[in-house]
């Protein structure tokens, strides 16, 4: 830890805590604008059907209804993250492709009226055969979901490095297993909500989002409106986890209704709609083949991974790639082949998830343990042996700069007495370890960087303006803390204006782990530029060299003679006098290879840096019921530098629950196209009482490019906690899992029929 830091690295109370714990913080559903209407959506009852006709006339006659829209009121534009994935009209006019798809909508003076009006919308459908399983969907003759995609293959990511087949032939031990996992639900605390207000040619929008600028851009395209007329405003967000990254059908619906009605429209999804009709997570089938040398060195990996992509592309190419990358960023693979297929089915829309890829990642880790055991090597050793180290380059040519993987493995092992516990496993008790690395940011073209404006106000208080957005993880507080450190002004004196597309500039958003590494870096640079101005005036006034000036507690002082000082507010006023107020800008653009493309060129520098982490789960299994409990969980995370250790620990703890405990409880269940658990009773998010005893360990590898050395605040745990649990269950049972979640019925089955070890 840098000892010369006053604020950064300290356990400060987050700037948003008070408003949140007192209920004062406003969320989208809390907004009340004058004349605001209530929006409601009519959804498809069919998984696949041609839309013959949509008749809104009777709905419009219901007293109190002010607008009704269908896709025929939109502009025929389809959305997609990439040019080659533009297939989502949001309000379709050709056919519906999943149950719960938005078909038409009304805006009325209250919810009852809106519901009544929905019942008067007449939609004629011609039902079509539907397909729900990706394997079925890829077969010849399966129902075609999008005309352009043969065999319903939406995306195929193909990576081939080295000579996989040859390496497999030469390997001492080879194993191939297939792992499945049910897709998860984001289950954010806040069901999706949008307020759209169209006035004087301007459209103002509030909604939970993980990137206001990309959201505004998508809507400007969909609505054929100039970008400056679409303004996404700041609002608190009740969780995202990847599920608020992309433009949502509700955004388009609320906007069209507001434009039609000339009044603000609020559209709040029910918990069930949030599950059926906002994004969910991919179900995955991962076939993993690994070749190892006698000493445990991994010589080759061969992957075939199938992602059930639901009805539209969404973040398709990214979702099809990320599980692979977070793994290859962690381990050394001299020869590796990855075939990732994202397949369309008539299920709800899917996006990226903070815990994305559990079948793949947990499968890799559990299989590695089993192979290592055969070779007489324990899990910690095999990970140390194959783990990347600073300066190495990944299989797809990303250079690793700072890397605390080794420290995370070692500390997590020491704290849990891992080697000993692992060796003395019993049928009812196991311990397991999971590792992963996470890219901090990824290629998003000119949107990959962030910039910040700072102004120092006449009383010495500060306003910082940045495009950065907070989804609940504490990004706002983090950048205030950074600014406070640089400027020597208490956090309470700093106002933040963020996530408003009208006044802020581009920022990569909070879905690629770029908020600290990129967003906070830009804030730091801007504040350093302002600081230089303050220091220059203070040095002049105090009669010392600029290098002798320090800033702390609202004061500029002479470092060697701390009694010699003046308030920063005096400096600021002096600057005003000089007609040159203290304002500054700063920006940060990460070192990424922008030639890199997810499908066409999957190599080159992925991100400016990577975080690393190791989780260790200790499980007990009820041998009669197969029920798993997790009494203790240890996570070590290399976040570069904890700007606020308490916030990093909070992220780690949340991740232990959301990824770790979820390994035994969470998974979407389907009856063909019907989601069977679109509620929080049957979709089993672990609650506070389900928390294990947790030990969170922060490792600081001090990234050379990160702000104060910081990288990201805890995502590794979201992507290795399930591996730790799966490995612990494998340790206890001596067999691999076939499918996640590890519900008691499945665990009992594992115990009853151990999978044999293949050679």
């Amino acid at each position: 830890m840098n000892t010369d830091l006053n604020i950064v690295g300290k356990r400060v109370v987050r700037s948003d805590s008070l408003a949140k714990v007192t209920g004062e913080a406003r969320y989208t559903a809390d907004l009340r604008l004058p004349n605001m209407l209530v929006g409601k959506v009519l959804r498809s009852p069919y998984p696949h059907a041609r839309i013959v006709r949509i008749d809104l006339t009777r709905a419009l006659k219901v007293p109190g209804v002010k607008a009704a829209v269908s896709g025929f009121d939109a502009y025929g534009i389809k959305w997609g993250v990439f040019r080659y994935t533009q297939d989502h009209a949001m309000l379709p006019t050709d056919k519906v492709r999943y149950i719960g798809e938005d078909v038409a909508a009304v805006a009325a003076i209250d919810e009852e009226t809106a519901l009544e009006a929905l019942s008067h919308i007449k939609v004629d459908y011609e039902t079509l055969p539907a397909v729900f399983d990706p394997i079925e969907s890829m077969k010849d003759g399966a129902p075609q979901i999008h005309d352009e995609h043969k065999n319903n293959i939406n995306i195929h990511v193909h990576i081939d490095v080295g000579e996989v087949d040859k390496a497999m032939r030469e390997a001492f031990i080879v194993r191939e297993d297939t792992f499945k996992a049910a897709g998860e639900a984001y289950a954010m605390m806040e069901p999706y909500a949008v307020v759209a207000s169209y006035k004087n040619g301007f459209l103002d929008l509030w909604m939970p989002n993980a990137g206001p600028h990309v959201r505004a851009k998508a809507l400007s395209n969909l609505l054929k409106m100039p970008l400056n007329k679409v303004r996404v405003r700041h609002i608190n967000s009740g969780g995202a986890f990847g599920g608020r990254s992309e433009v949502a059908p509700a955004d388009l619906v609320a906007s069209l209704l507001s434009i039609k009605a000339g009044r603000p429209v609020k559209l709040v999804l029910s918990r069930e709609e949030n599950a059926t009709s906002s994004r969910q997570i991919h179900d995955i089938i991962a076939t993993i083949k690994t070749g190892m040398k006698k000493d445990g060195t991994i010589v080759a990996k061969d992957y075939k991974v199938i992602y059930n992509g639901g009805a539209y592309s969404s973040t398709g190419p990214i979702a099809t790639s990320i599980p692979f990358y977070v793994y290859e960023e962690c381990y050394r693979f001299p020869n590796v082949r990855y075939n990732g297929y994202r397949v369309f089915t008539n299920k709800g829309i899917r996006g990226m998830y903070g815990c994305h890829g559990r079948a793949f990642l947990a499968g890799n880790e559990a299989q590695m343990d089993l192979m290592a055991r055969e070779l007489g090597i324990d899990p910690a050793e095999i990970r140390l042996k194959n783990g990347l180290t600073p300066g190495e380059v990944t299989a797809t040519k990303s250079k690793i700069t700072s890397c605390g993987l080794k420290e995370t493995i070692e500390t997590a092992s020491e704290r849990t007495d891992f080697k000993k516990q692992w060796a003395k496993r019993s049928r009812n008790k196991g311990i397991g370890m999971g590792c992963v690395a996470i890219m901090c940011g990824f290629p998003m073209g000119f949107r990959s960087g962030s910039s910040c404006y700072v102004k120092i106000n006449d009383d010495g208080q500060v306003t910082i303006v940045t495009g950065l957005v907070d989804n609940g993880q504490g990004n706002e507080s983090m950048v205030i803390q950074v600014a406070s450190e640089v400027l020597g002004i208490p956090m309470g004196d700093i106002n933040l204006v963020c996530a408003d597309t009208e006044v802020t500039n581009l920022d990569p958003g909070s879905y690629s782990q770029a908020a600290a590494f990129v967003g906070a870096n830009a804030v730091k640079v801007a504040c350093e530029n302002a600081r230089k101005r303050i220091v220059a005036i203070a040095a002049e006034k105090l009669g010392v060299a600029e290098t002798d000036i320090g800033l702390k507690d609202r004061m500029a002082y002479v470092v060697k003679e701390p009694d010699k000082k003046m308030p920063i507010s005096w400096v600021v006023r002096e600057a005003f006098f000089r007609g040159d107020p203290i304002v500054a800008t700063g920006s940060f653009f990460p070192n990424i290879d922008f030639e890199r493309e997810w499908v066409s060129r999957p190599w080159g520098q992925m991100a400016g840096t990577f975080s690393f982490g190791t989780s260790v789960a200790e499980v007990t299994i009820d041998p009669e019921t197969g029920k798993v409990t997790i009494p203790r969980f240890t996570a070590a995370h290399d976040c570069g530098c904890p700007i606020n250790p308490m916030a990093v620990e909070g992220q780690m703890e949340g991740s232990i629950l959301q990824a770790g405990v979820a390994t035994i409880t969470e998974g979407n269940l389907w009856d063909k196209g019907h989601l069977l658990n679109p509620d929080l009773l049957e979709y089993k998010v672990p609650l506070a009482c389900d928390m294990p005893e947790m030990d969170t360990i922060i490792v600081s590898s001090r990234d050379p490019a990160g702000p104060f050395g910081a990288k990201e605040g805890g995502l590794t745990v979201r992507m290795n906690a399930y591996s730790a649990v799966a490995c612990a269950v494998a340790n206890a049972t001596g067999a691999l899992f076939e499918e996640l979640p590890l519900t008691p019925d499945r665990v009992l089955k594992i115990m009853e029929t151990k999978k044999g070890v293949k050679k």
Partner: protein
């Protein structure tokens, strides 16, 4: 999801409740804590003209002992009942079932009467109107088929009260007051076995009290669930024992709990009871966990519960 329109009445007496019920010609529902009823209304699984709130009836809120019987008012909350010293000392199976019911927040709101009379559940049933319309109405919603079991002739929804099975092992009776007067019946007799309409309670009858013979028992409640903090039972087994005789009750599978009486406890009777309970259990795929597994767990839980009673007396 907003509630549908209905008239709301809060009554002060059982007679007042019954009179109102009569006035609405049966198109009314009683409400105690509302934790089961309100979600049903929101999902449009019930559309009464009126909701008659029983929470204001003081006589339903007391726990008294009379002539060797513990009389528990229907409106006593699960939480208060759990913390009653008599329950803890005399009826360990009930204490454990109360403690395993949902979470403490719900226990503070939910009543024992409402808990007993909660509707049966099914993963295809407890859904919004839109969801169910898309799926097609099943027997329990007035449709012509079961959406879980092809060609079924009946509804297999599950009765998920944690506490009724425990009460049944304690030989509890319920007192009902209705349009035709008052009656007291064995708790296990109020179940029709029909998932569509699981209770034999007459329209308009108010459950006023639960009566338990006041004698010390040893007992255990075993509940299987995926999420410990809050979950309905996937299958459960209650056992209460006194004087070498035991009553075992299985819940969570099908529309009615099933009672098994053991006259002489020994190794064989444990196995026989477990086998019989296993054979009788007909779970179907209407929860988050497979039916075959739930069936298997019937005998596992029965054996475990009885063994625990014998070993630790349920403490």
């Amino acid at each position: 999801m907003i509630l549908p329109q209905f008239e709301y009445h809060k009554v002060q007496s059982v007679a007042g409740a019954i009179a109102l019920y009569r006035k609405y010609k049966g198109k009314a529902r009683y409400c105690a804590g509302g934790t089961d009823l309100i979600p049903l209304l929101k999902q449009r699984l019930s559309a009464p003209a009126a909701v008659i709130d029983l929470k204001g009836i003081d006589e339903l809120k007391t726990i008294t002992r009379r002539k060797g019987v513990l009389i528990i008012g229907a409106n006593v909350t699960l939480f208060d009942l759990k913390n009653d010293p008599i329950v803890r000392e005399h009826f360990p199976a009930l204490f454990q079932s109360l403690d395993a019911t949902s979470c403490e927040t719900l226990q503070m709101r939910g009543t024992i009467g409402g808990n007993i009379l909660q509707d049966t559940r099914c993963i295809q049933y407890n859904k919004s109107l839109e969801w169910r319309t898309s799926r097609g109405f099943c027997f329990k919603m007035g449709g012509k088929a079961c959406n879980v079991v092809l060609n079924a002739q009946a509804c297999f929804s599950n009765y998920c009260s944690d506490n009724a099975p425990a009460l049944i092992t304690l030989s509890a009776k319920v007192r009902l007051k209705g349009l035709k007067g008052e009656r007291t019946v064995d708790l296990e007799k109020i179940f029709s076995g029909n998932g569509k309409a699981p209770f034999t309670v007459e329209p308009g009858e108010v459950l006023t009290a639960i009566l338990i013979p006041l004698k010390k028992t040893e007992g255990v409640y075993e509940k299987l669930r995926v999420r410990d903090s809050m979950d309905y039972p996937l299958v459960d087994a209650a056992v209460s024992m006194a004087g070498g005789k035991a009553r075992v009750c299985i819940g969570g599978i099908g529309p009615a709990p099933r009672l098994y009486v053991i006259k002489n406890m020994d190794e064989n009777t444990i196995r026989d009871t477990a086998d019989k309970a296993y054979a009788d259990a007909k779970p179907v795929a209407n929860t988050t966990i497979s039916a075959a597994y739930r069936k298997k767990m019937v005998s596992t839980l029965v054996k475990r519960a009885i063994k625990r009673v014998l070993k630790e007396g349920g403490r």
